[in-house]
Assembly symmetry: C2
Homo-oligomer: 148 residues x 2
């Protein structure tokens, strides 16, 4: 079943399955490509840094969160983000098992194009101890059933 | 040269080198891992979607932007983000050559821990036609010279 604009309402929640345990190798590979800093690349050097040990790039956590969104929320026409406000309250460490809890906070039909609307959602990304490692508010497009 | 908290002031700007042309293969590989949706995965299927053709995941653009930040801004102790507000005004397409222009918008010493402070910056990610494909406001830590 696909969700159209009309199917989405404030207060709806979605919970993802668990992402497989994040390995140190995955953390280092992502960082090598996109965030090559000692605390994301080398467990020993990371000890001497702000993080006190190897931690995933926040953008890696954001990317995993997107992966879980795609698996979890069957929006018709796909998940198209207009923007996101992201914070990282806690570090993601090797072995962490991430999942997301999504809460719809706003729903508004577009005034310029009524065949679509905007959905605001809070996405909390949690680790295996229920610590929030990323909190994001996203603005997504949703497409109207009428026009499809 | 490394930049400490005291070295950073409102109005400073930084410009990155160009990221190598983004290939369709890179777009599809990132999306396969983190954002597996037709408009990021398959040039033919993408034609029938909102994007009208293959486009990079916004989180791929965000990750490339981070890579350019690391190459461009030599903050002492590393670039540690507290949060980011990201929008994607235009799609990133195969062959696009991205670069960033960073402007420091705020600098504030931490009241609870004066050995560090917070730097707010606007990051515009531009393509080869100077179109802004991502606009982000980030909040980063900066460490004081005094304590280092």
């Amino acid at each position: 079943m696909k969700l159209y604009f009309e199917d989405i309402s404030v207060g709806m929640t979605f919970e993802s399955d668990k992402y497989p345990p994040l390995s140190a190798t995955q953390i280092v590979e992502f960082a090598s490509d996109f965030d090559p800093q000692p605390f994301h690349l080398d467990p020993l050097e990371a000890k001497e840094t702000f993080f006190g040990g190897l931690a995933a790039s926040g953008w890696h956590t954001a990317a995993i969160t997107m992966r879980l969104m795609v698996q979890t929320i069957p929006v018709a026409g796909g998940l198209v983000g207009a923007g996101a406000d992201v914070t990282w309250p806690a570090a993601v460490r090797p072995g962490d098992v991430l999942r997301i809890v999504v809460t719809v906070e706003s729903v508004r039909r577009s005034s310029s194009n009524p065949s679509r609307g905007f959905v605001g959602a809070l996405i909390e990304t949690l680790n295996q101890d229920d610590v929030v490692v990323q909190r994001s508010r996203v603005r997504m497009l949703a497409f109207s059933k009428e026009q499809n």
